[in-house]
């Protein structure tokens, strides 16, 4: 199973974290520090896997962003590498160009929360739950439309409140 997902920029800045196994805040910080030290320093042509504390961490670099997933000893590394790619393809389809991923996660353009919602449709409880890109895209679109409606409702209410309190 996947124990956590980490997105780290090349400078070691954290862009997204999702923990499927319990880690305390202190442990999380330590894990991130340890792993970014290990992964960011690796030369480009080496394996996309590192052994770490009896687990394996599979990572892949897209532009200036590292996607890392921590898995068990007996999991299939190459499969996880493709799960990462699957995630990236869906993000790419949703957000547009993959080259700007780092920007996306840097909040300049879009809420990062969206990336979490997408991840939640792909992985659940540390397992891949949906391998069809279409299904994921459809689900996210449904959510968006409903959320959009809710947002309009909310803003109209807030407008009303704003007007009422004027």
């Amino acid at each position: 199973m996947i124990h956590f997902v980490l997105l780290i920029s090349r400078q070691g800045k954290v862009r997204l974290t999702k923990w499927y196994s319990p880690y305390s805040q202190k442990e999380r910080t330590k894990v991130i520090r340890e792993l970014s030290g290990m992964i960011l320093t690796r030369a480009p042509k080496l394996c996309n896997f590192v052994e770490w504390r009896g687990y394996k961490v599979v990572y892949k670099r897209y532009a200036s962003l590292y996607f890392c997933m921590c898995i068990d000893q007996d999991d299939n590394e190459l499969e996880v590498l493709e799960i990462i790619h699957h995630f990236v393809e869906i993000l790419d389809r949703y957000f547009g160009s993959v080259c700007e991923l780092d920007l996306i996660f840097n909040f300049h353009k879009l809420p990062r929360a969206q990336a979490y919602y997408i991840l939640d449709e792909i992985l659940i409880a540390g397992e891949l739950q949906e391998s069809s890109k279409k299904t994921v895209a459809r689900l996210i679109a449904t959510q968006d439309s409903l959320v959009e409606a809710a947002k309009e409702q909310a803003s109209s209410i807030s407008n009303m409140i704003a007007q009422a309190t004027k």
Partner: protein, 949 residues
């Protein structure tokens, strides 16, 4: 596409992100975040903050926490947000709690109610959000609160909900297997769900359940084979394709399940051969995902009942992986090789050069994987090279986790396969010197035991030689600074016991050394205790043998210091030492008999020598003794009525649960062994549930309808013997080898120059045509894939490479003479089942080949470009082999040292058996040794945790 830009984010938020993005240092970032924390604290607690603003603050809080700061002050607001009616806020609330909280957090209890309500919602998105939270947050205690609703959702009309419900149940079964045990049939039913996504999700819990108890699900094998067949035939919707492969993630999961079901089950395996073979054929080996499936198929093949055709296909795939330029594929190739050599040891031979390349690779991950492989294929013939390599690597790394692992592996291999005790002690010294505090304390005791018991034979000379060599090496080592405590304990014990045994060192010299140790480690009470006991032993030996004894001044001061010690243990030892001096020789001999560690001390547990005294006391009117348990039984019989009579009851409170009154199985028996001997329940009814039963293979149903005792998986789990694959027997390989060698043009003249040629050819080939190298390696090491077709071009190369030839000649010269004329060729590094050739055959001397091989590997370092340099390095390796062949001849040359080789407690197999020509037998031995050993297999990731306590 990204139409939500902005999404209610304020400029403030964007500025925050921007400033953090632009911060130059961690300190600056921290300052910004801390300021943000203050702002959020104020705003979140302000009751007038509008709800839609709250949402943004919660997301900002997520950001803060992600950057490693404490955001716990805002958790409660996230929890409150899940209660909101507005979907937008609710969703944000659920996202926040799943990211903030762990399942053991106190606030969970406040969410359970909301989750219960939301699971019943009409809006499936609300249900989805709630199920996401269920997967993350529900713990063992709260499972019952939501379980009924989640089960209901299995029948929800939306497939997204069904899928998440299955995954939630999967999570429950991970956390508390008992909670969903009655729901197993639901998982089975979900295999037939109309939506492939739901079916794929159902594979996750089924995989876990099957992993826990294979026998219950044997009937499903046919269904899984069918599903896999349909997936491979592209019957699933196109949207599940990934890089032109049909639903690869589902395929991989299914292959994993099949390998569980087929393990040690011939009948089930036979049902799977066709489909696994098909998949391997269809895999697109140019894409990553194709290789992922291929790799999973190899894993599956390696755990199924062996099938020659599939094994061959797997071997081909591994060869492709290893030849690849991609490190990822090499890594998988090594891993797959590790799995396959369990069944077919010969396969490793073909890839020796590739394996050695990986071992030398700068990539640490690859290197470690290769060590895993070497660890699995260690036998008594190659243990020295492998363990030396491991230790070398162990010294070079800092990662304490892996250091621990590799140190325990070294110890394990050394204990199992040590060719002689001398080597064992040297190896242990090295391991202890660098990682003593990382290995199990038991290892230290084993080492002491070995030195004490020696070879366990009558040959005392060998024993004392071993001991004096141990003493000598310890006297040399102990001067070094910073030795680990556990190692010092061993040193002190050995010096105390055997320091003066051979008369080489005077008592006062050893005592002085021991005093030094105690002095140098004032804070380590255990080492001091060992040291002072060592001193006591030596003084007693001296007194007992009637030698004049004078108390050394440093020893005197040590005793005085210890008498005043806070540790009562040290005090007692010091007092004991003091009192030794007041006794006469006879008494001392009784207290501290010389060399008596191995003698059994008889303890009269019944204290029968007191019988007379007790009798007398009772006669004088004393109360008879009543055992504690009986006393309790009388006094509080009402309280303990339900208790087992023989259960030891104590006065203390019991915190642990009362165990079930069933006889526990012995721990060392693997669970599979136990379960597979049980009767298999038959559940043929599920066959009906298969979506497309028409396509079932013909042989499918016959197996599940008979009730019988399954004994056929029992041995296979660990040992090779029962599993011997239909690989060529040793004699036939022999034949192949002879045939292959005979037609060589110059085999009659002399084998030596030719082998030298071919050995550096490999080097030459290496640099020029990497794929060629591997085939050449196979031919070099006498694998079955030998062919003469490749020989001529490589000989052409040889003429252009005179200096290399010189080099290998010089390296040959540096090898000890004893090794040059092997009547049986000594085993090579990757020796796994290659039978040795009869001496009459004009054999290729594997020695030279090895020199060449390692020569090449040395060449990669710039320092060894000079011929002499390389030669001196070679001698390290060759001398190892020299050792080996020496010991292999031990039956001819009965020198006392090698005579005792066989009797060691640690290595129960005799060297003749292991090193003899019959390697199959040796392999079986090794398998047996592993079976008997502490850790039967490296499969278990907990192995080292277990080892290390």
């Amino acid at each position: 596409m990204g139409s939500q830009g902005g999404f209610g984010q304020s400029k403030e938020f964007l500025d925050l992100i921007k400033s953090i993005g632009e911060s130059r240092s961690k300190a600056e970032e921290d300052r910004i975040v801390l300021r943000e924390v203050e702002t959020l604290k104020v705003r979140l607690n302000d009751p007038n903050t509008p709800k839609y603003k709250l949402k943004e603050y919660i997301i900002r809080l997520l950001y803060v926490e992600m950057l490693g700061h404490d955001a716990s002050f805002g958790y409660i607001h996230a929890v409150k947000m899940t209660h909101d009616e507005n979907l937008l806020l609710k969703r944000t609330g659920y996202l926040a709690v799943t990211l903030f909280l762990n399942e053991d957090h106190d606030l969970i209890i406040l969410i359970v109610n909301t989750i219960q309500k939301d699971l019943k919602s009409d809006n499936f998105l609300v249900v989805c959000a709630a199920l996401n939270a269920v997967c993350r947050l529900i713990n063992e205690e709260t499972i019952p609160a939501v379980l009924p609703q989640v089960v209901d959702l299995l029948g929800h009309q939306k497939e997204a909900v069904r899928k998440k419900a299955v995954m939630a149940l999967h999570r429950f079964s991970q956390k508390a297997p008992g909670s969903v045990s009655h729901l197993v049939s639901n998982f089975r039913k979900k295999l037939c769900d109309n939506d492939p996504g739901v079916m794929g999700a159902a594979l996750c819990p089924l995989f876990d359940l099957i992993n826990a108890d294979v026998d219950k699900y044997k009937d499903l094998a046919v269904s899984f084979v069918n599903i896999l067949k349909q997936v491979a035939e592209r019957r699933l919707p196109k949207s599940y394709d990934y890089h032109q492969m049909p639903a690869p993630f589902i395929q991989i999961k299914l292959l994993k399940i099949l390998s569980l079901l087929g393990t040690g089950d011939k009948k089930a395996s036979e049902q799977m051969y066709t489909i696994v073979g098909d998949i391997m054929r269809k895999c697109d080996s140019t894409s990553n995902i194709g290789n992922a499936i291929l790799y999973e198929s190899i894993c599956c093949v390696s755990s199924l009942h062996p099938n020659p055709k599939l094994l061959e296909a797997a071997a081909d795939a591994i060869a492709k992986f290893l030849k690849s330029d991609s490190h990822n594929l090499k890594y998988l190739g090594i891993d797959a090789l590790t799995r396959l050599i369990k069944i077919n040891p010969e396969i490793a031979e073909q890839h020796q050069l590739a394996v050695i390349d990986c071992l030398e690779d700068p990539d640490d991950t690859l290197k470690r994987k290769t060590f895993d492989l070497l660890y699995k294929m260690t036998s008594s013939s190659n243990v020295e090279v492998i363990v030396d390599r491991m230790i070398e690597y162990m010294i070079s790394i800092n990662d304490s986790h892996y250091k621990t692992e590799i140190a325990s592996r070294c110890v394990e291999l050394a204990e199992q396969f040590a060719p002689n005790n001398q080597w064992f002690i040297q190896t242990m010294n090295k391991v202890f010197e660098h990682a003593a505090d990382l290995v199990n304390a038991k290892v230290a005791h084993n080492l002491m035991k070995l030195i004490a018991e020696g070879f366990g034979e009558d040959d005392d000379t060998a024993d004392s030689q071993l001991r004096s060599s141990a003493v000598e090496s310890y006297l040399r080592i102990m001067g070094e600074p910073k030795l680990p405590s556990a190692f010092l304990q061993v040193i002190c014990w050995v010096l105390g016991e055997y320091g003066i045994a051979d008369g080489k060192y005077s008592a006062s010299y050893i005592i002085g050394k021991l005093c030094d140790v105690a002095e140098a480690h004032p804070d380590d009470d255990t080492v001091k205790a060992y040291a002072v006991t060592g001193i006591m032993k030596i003084y007693s030996f001296e007194i007992a043998s009637g030698n004049p004894v004078d108390l050394l001044p440093e020893c005197q001061s040590l005793i005085e210091e210890m008498l005043a010690s806070h540790s009562t243990d040290l005090q007692q030892r010091a007092y004991e030492l003091q009192s030794i001096f007041t006794l006469d020789a006879r008494a001392v001999k009784k207290i501290m008999p010389m060399d008596s560690t191995c003698d059994d001390i008889e303890i009269d547990k019944n204290l029968s020598f007191l019988d007379g005294y007790v009798q007398q006391a009772i006669e004088n009117g004393a109360q008879p003794y009543i055992p504690e348990s009986e006393r309790l039984g009388i006094s509080s019989i009402s309280d303990f009525r339900s208790h087992d009579v023989h259960e030891p009851s104590t006065h203390a409170l019991r915190f642990e649960a009362y165990e079930l009154p069933k006889p526990s199985l012995p721990h060392n028996i693997p669970p599979v062994l136990a379960s597979s001997t049980e009767l298999v329940p038959v559940e043929p009814s599920y066959v009906i549930d298969i979506p497309h039963p028409t396509s079932a293979p013909s042989a499918s149903d016959t197996g599940s309808s008979e009730l019988k005792l399954r004994l056929d998986g029992v041995q296979k789990k660990w040992g090779r013997p029962t599993y011997s694959s239909p690989a060529p027997s040793s004699s036939s390989t022999d034949l192949v080898k002879v045939q292959n060698e005979a037609p060589r043009p110059d085999s009659a003249s002399s084998s030596k120059p030719k082998t030298r040629d071919s050995s550096y050819d490999s080097r030459k080939q290496q640099t020029e045509i990497p794929p060629e190298k591997q085939r050449l390696a196979a031919s070099l090491f006498g694998g079955s894939s030998k062919s003469e077709g490749r020989q001529p071009p490589s000989q052409k190369n040889s003429k252009t490479q005179n200096h290399t030839s010189d080099k290998s000649r010089s390296s040959k010269a540096s090898a000890p003479d004893t090794a040059v004329k092997p009547s049986q060729p000594p085993p090579d590094l990757l020796d796994l089942g290659e039978p040795s050739i009869a001496s009459s055959v004009p054999s290729v001397d594997p020695f030279k080949q090895f020199e060449g091989l390692f020569d090449f590997t040395q060449e990669t370092t710039p320092a060894s470009t000079g011929g002499v340099d390389g030669a001196s390095k070679d001698s390290d390796f060759t001398s190892l082999f020299a050792d080996m062949s020496l010991s292999a001849q031990s039956n001819i040359d009965p020198n006392p040292e090698s005579n005792g080789l066989g009797g060691s407690k640690v290595e129960p197999t005799s060297p003749q058996l292991n090193k003899g020509p019959n390697l199959k037998e040796a392999l079986e031995k090794d398998a047996l040794v592993r079976q008997v050993g502490v850790t039967p297999s490296g499969q278990n990731p907990n192995l080292f945790k277990d080892l290390l306590g």
